[in-house]
Symmetry: C2
Subunit: 167 residues, 2 copies
DNA sequence: TTTTGATATTTTAGACATGGATATATCTAT
DNA sequence: ATAGATATATCCATGTCTAAAATATCAAAA
């Protein structure tokens, strides 16, 4: 249909609402779910353990890598900038929950590790954290959760391809 | 079953890894997808339009509500705190992209609206933004996107129920 | 060796973001 | 009418977070 008139503005809008809007709605819904869960977790971590979400996340990465991680590794895995990791690590070091060790291989790099106290403290929090997550997904049956998990793998692949190509 | 031994730590860990971990992995994958897309959008908005994601998001809310929105409405829809909205709005007002009008109904409240320039500026950015989103989901077919959209509705309902009950 | 370029981290400046506290206005039930 | 509870928005302290510049190291070529 359509008159292919002179108005570029109208064409763009038509194209957008008829073809693109579904993807946009999908993205906005994804974002809404993530924010809902993330905000809940954030405030419970603060209320019950007096810790911030970024610090918890950094400790979680270290817990999974008992050998420790370089700052750059943390940055990549947490998908945040290096400057950010520096600040969070400084805080955790001051609290005695992690340590910076000099890398034997590379004098530019540090190896960040959990301290014994950090590990002990993290395990307690992680246990509660997992329970909260389970509660949040309790309204889904197993089949739905598995389907979602698989679809998110497709999203990840699709978005990765798009970001590496364009950037 | 189970010996209900003295070690609480061991019991907790077993319970966690055998039963809870799948939900945790689901959540972490969700988070990874969101961060991937969000970081991409954020840097493109900055690079191509010199705007930040929070400001863009606030303008997007106003675009959808031509009558304007109260600060509290913005806070609810963007899922951020009121103090945060105050700051972002201040910035946008300083740039002449939005205005604060006194509410005729309620002298406690402001009505925030896009200025004509704000609307013009937003439409250009929104058009590009939608194209980026389409690119990011290009690796999924329509059936997958619809399935995902529906599953996310279930997630949202599940998480909403959990957060309102516990909080 | 010295230069060159890539890598690893920190530093800096500015913008977000939360939670709590405050100030003001409105509503409700007497 | 009026006290008490609620609602609206702002201010403040603290803590991320990014982008860009600065610092230091490494690795390899000229």
């Amino acid at each position: 249909m359509s008159k292919k008139t002179a108005s570029a503005g109208a064409d763009t809008e038509t194209r957008a609402t008829s073809e693109h809007a579904p993807d946009l709605r999908l993205w906005l819904r994804t974002l809404a779910c993530t924010n809902l869960i993330e905000n809940h977790i954030r405030s419970r971590l603060r209320a019950e353990f007096g810790i911030t979400l970024p610090r918890f996340d950094l400790m979680a990465q270290l817990e999974r890598s008992p050998l420790g991680l370089k700052m750059g590794e943390l940055s990549k895995r947490m998908m945040v900038t290096g400057g950010n990791v520096t600040g969070i690590t400084d805080q955790l070091v001051a609290e005695g929950l992690v340590v910076r060790e000099d890398s034997p291989k590379d004098r530019r790099a540090y190896i960040v590790k959990l301290t014994p106290e950090g590990r002990r403290s993290f395990r307690k929090m992680a246990d509660a954290h997992e329970n909260w997550i389970v509660e949040l997904y309790a309204g889904m049956d197993e089949k739905q959760r598995n389907q979602l998990y698989d679809l998110l793998a497709v999203v990840k692949a699709s978005a990765s391809a798009a970001t590496t190509k364009k950037k």
